[in-house]
Symmetry: C2
């Protein structure tokens, strides 16, 4: 029997941070991941263009007999998740910035959200702040992470260019006294150590990937049982890109958790 | 803050099948894995020798400030887990053959247990059969997997020599009409596809690794909360061997889940 399959898509490789969490929650599921490199990055495009891409990718994934769909991109979720749910007869789980948990956790009363320009400008973003931060008297600083997705897609997680960009984006957040930073783009968890270093240890980073994985299991219901069991061998992962596979492979190899280095234990 | 650390040990690399399950259940925990290659395999040694090695490795892991210990070896669990619990003031979780679930699931009334010679001959094994199979009228065939651990440690998961050994060990089980095979050594899940092929699709393989991971979380109690959270970056894994690191590294690289191959998606 083939394992249950779950479809995941993103503009690029940022959704691998979500794939990791899904893989942990559903180790028995085959994961089918599509990176839309031919049309990336999404964050600076028109809402109509992003919605069209999300629908095209989702329709293709449905032809691959996936049992559920994870939109592993905050921007695509904000702009297309409703359309996807209307059109598709399977569970569709999106990801959105963890503004609510951040507003509940902050002690300084000031939180930051780092997201793409399209996400920062979206109605969904405004609604999240209105619903969860304003009623608590929490101030939200919305910061566009312009350029970061491109650095991460180039496999540069902590080089000088990435560090300079991070510093430019977080300086105003740090100055405003945020104590929680919401990672509002699935690419950003991949540079969490660089962000943490720039912000200092006192600022907590929030990544909703794990909540997405839990929500996926809830939506699957009883049909999800087979995916929760740990298989003797890891279930397969298929990675597809609409872009250039060899170039993408190089970055995947850098982002993937490499096998640990074996060290010697002597005298025991 | 350093992540919580969990110590795991085995005679060799078989415990990596347990490490996988622990990593999924506790993605926030640093995992410290010791493979006792200098004294492997355990399965053909005296109970006293195996117990002495388990105590030596556990004592060393305690010096590394682990919060809990997982004995990722059925043989060492059967012979040393009580001594470890008496001596050490931290949670100690062992692994043992899933005879009870097997006896509950079988429809043919005949189950197989594939384990090391020491495990097959252990009092613990006799007690598991007396407690869980005999009262249900379930017949248990105990089969020593002599030679399999060595093949797996050589990185040979499905070559001709491994297949020939598997065929020799499973032939009597198949002939007796088992419908469940208990994997009684943590090395065997690594060759699950080879075993499954030799036994046929009608025989279910039982690996208790996931149950071990759940038991670990229960024993950690509230202290385990930090290990359950998915970190933005994977928590580190340290692999140590009392044997020859370069040789072990080669096998680890073969056993480790490699990064998936990126494929092209066209026309979407």
């Amino acid at each position: 029997m083939d394992p249950a399959a779950i479809g995941i898509f993103d503009s690029g490789l940022g959704g691998l941070s979500v794939l990791r969490a899904v893989q942990r929650a559903a180790p028995g599921a085959e994961l089918l991941y599509v990176a839309d490199h031919a049309h990336a990055p999404y964050g600076e495009q028109s809402p109509q263009a992003i919605k069209a891409r999300a629908l095209a990718l989702a329709r293709w994934l449905v032809t691959q007999r996936v049992q559920a769909l994870v939109v592993a991109c905050n921007t695509a979720t904000a702009l297309a998740v409703q359309a996807l749910r209307q059109e598709l007869a399977l569970p569709v789980v999106g990801i959105e910035p963890a503004v609510k948990p951040a507003a509940e956790r902050t002690r300084s009363g000031v939180i930051g959200v780092l997201a793409t320009s399209a996400m920062v400008a979206s109605e969904r973003m405004a609604r999240l702040c209105d619903d969860h931060a304003r009623p608590r008297g929490v101030r939200v600083l919305l910061q566009s992470g312009t350029g970061l997705v491109e650095r991460i897609e180039a496999g540069d997680l902590d080089g000088p260019l990435t560090r300079a960009l991070v510093e430019r984006h977080v300086a105003p957040l740090r100055a405003a006294g945020i104590d929680v930073l919401v990672l509002g783009c699935t690419h950003y968890p991949l540079i969490a150590p660089t962000l943490q270093e720039a912000l200092g240890a006192g600022v907590q980073l929030l990544d909703p990937a794990e909540a997405v994985a839990r929500e996926l299991l809830r939506r699957l219901g009883p049909a999800g049982e087979s995916v929760i069991a740990t298989p003797a061998q890891p279930a397969p992962i298929r990675l597809l890109t609409t872009g250039d596979p060899p170039a993408v492979q190089q970055v995947v190899n850098r982002l993937w958790t490499a096998e640990p280095e074996v060290q010697a234990l002597k005298g025991v």
